[in-house]
Amino acid sequence: MIELQHLERRYGDAYAVRDLNLKFPEGELTALLGPSGCGKTTTLRMINRLTEPSAGRVLLGGRDTRDLRPEELRRGLGYVIQQIGLFPHLTVAQNVATVPELLGWDRRRTARRVDDLLELVGLDPAVYRAKKPGELSGGQAQRVGVARALAADPPVLLMDEPFGALDPLARDRLQDAFKDIQQRLRKTVVLVTHDIDEALRLGDRIALMHAGTLAQFGTPDDLIHRPASPFVRHFLGEDAVLRQLAGRAAAEFVRPGDPAGLPRIADTLDARSALGVMLREGSDALAVLREGVPLGVLRWDDLRVREAQARKAQA
């Protein structure tokens, strides 16, 4: 879908991005991860030409993006930024309608689309349509930001630290909401973040950048279990596996079994916390309950050997 070929951006003698080759798979979320100053935001901005590359090219569905007018290109790529950037003089509905209006949609189609999108991001249109951005909380505002980016149904979504300015609680909830939305819409998403947990939680794939170059590109499992360099291992940290478990629900690992006498957890608990319960209770199995009804059993071995299973499944 999106392909970077020998992409480069220089500022004077310094390279922000150097000879970057990368293919973002269609319908997947790729996290552009890395420490600050690694060139991840510059890379994102070269995709929609907010920053022009010094060398190399960006292909979008096989077409060189330089063949399009920048405005035309950008209207086809959803864009979400950390500061949200809602226009304070316009209502929520008018903000969401920005790109459809630029594209000249008729009023009724736009109005319908705005309501659908507000529903999608979990905001009641009747309540929020006429509000001004100043009346929204940070989390609500970024929901509107996501709705605005999706307004013209672009196949691609570019997100620059979209949840970075939110408090931890709002961030968690919005990440969950966005994961749901992405599962339904299957957009090709490029998400810039410096937050390893976020990358592991949301990313189908992770492109880890270091000093303007690609350190490793792969699935979260690839980076955790098969780091390509000491930098990758060091950046993810010794507790990377735990971080990954934190992003998954315990229910994903449940197998049928006899829950009698085992410590109980709810199926909404994340897998890392479930592991914590095992350690605390001195038990290597837990009963998982959905709304009080036993769902099955979660075993220590299942958490541990998950990786081996994944490899087997791929083979």
């Binding site: 290109l73 950008r74 864009y79 930024i81 950037g85 003089h89 951005p133 100043g134 929204l136 605005r148």
Partner: protein, 249 residues
């Protein structure tokens, strides 16, 4: 990130919009002002040719024409000098425009007369030079106050430079810009009285005649009407400026 909901915003009744124009109209009724200032004119009843309402209209015309030209010059100027990479031009413009206010209007008028002759032309020139200052400086301040991330978002969504200006920058700069227009217009009501010395007519005429004839009643008639006109315009423009634009966060 909190703001007062629209319904709870204090709704000030703009009394000035009714009171000042009404008072102005009352004073323009034939015979009202001359009778009021009679104690100052040693019992003599003043008569005016042209009548007071005509002087007031002339005055208003001068001011509005000047404001129109100020907008036509000032707004595009503010836009041009606030584009990225034009910082030097912006500083130069602010200095030059600021000069317009430091040089006394009377001097501008005196210098303009040899070039433009007497009448409306030099008066308008003086009003424009003087009125440009608040419009340009507020316009520049308003446009510069638009936050960078909003422009980034606008650009990232595919707005052209013109669309960004029209849909984002100007609407957000508007409250500050209009405050400048209000200041400019109100000041110029006062400044325009000097135009009478150049034969442009208006409410300066009774003031100047009063001064030369040592008739405080005449001076008062011109001054009261000019003041009421300024208050009326200020109140009317205040309606536009405090229109329910949301507070920018």
């Amino acid at each position: 990130m909190t703001s007062v909901p629209a319904s709870r915003r204090p709704s000030r009744v703009p009394w000035g919009v009714i009171v000042w124009p009404a008072l102005l109209a009352f004073c323009l009724l034939p015979g009202v002002l001359p009778r009021l200032v009679q104690p100052l004119t040693a019992g003599e009843r003043l008569t005016f040719e042209p009548p007071l309402w005509q002087l007031t209209l002339t005055h208003l015309g001068l001011v509005l024409l000047a404001t129109g030209v100020v907008l036509l010059i000032g707004v595009p100027l503010a836009v041009v000098v606030t584009r990225p990479g034009r910082e030097a031009l912006r500083h130069l413009t602010e200095t030059l425009v600021g000069l317009g206010q430091t040089v006394p209007t009377f001097a501008v008028l005196a210098l303009a007369v040899p070039a433009l002759g007497f009448g409306w032309a030099p008066t308008l020139l003086g009003l424009i030079v003087y009125g440009l200052v608040p419009v340009v400086s507020n316009g520049v301040a308003g446009l510069l106050s638009v936050e960078g991330h909003l422009l980034d978002a606008a650009r990232g969504m595919g707005m052209s430079p013109w669309q960004r200006l029209q849909r984002v920058e100007l609407p957000l700069a508007l409250p500050v810009l209009l405050a400048g227009v209000r200041t400019s217009t109100v000041y110029n009501v006062g400044t325009a009285t000097i135009g009478a010395a150049l034969g442009a007519g208006g409410l300066g005429a009774p003031i100047i005649n009063g001064l030369s004839q040592q008739n405080p009643g005449l001076v008062l008639v011109g001054a009261v009407l000019a003041a009421l006109l300024a208050l009326s315009l200020d109140a009317l423009l205040g309606l536009v400026v405090s229109s329910p634009l949301s507070p920018a966060e």
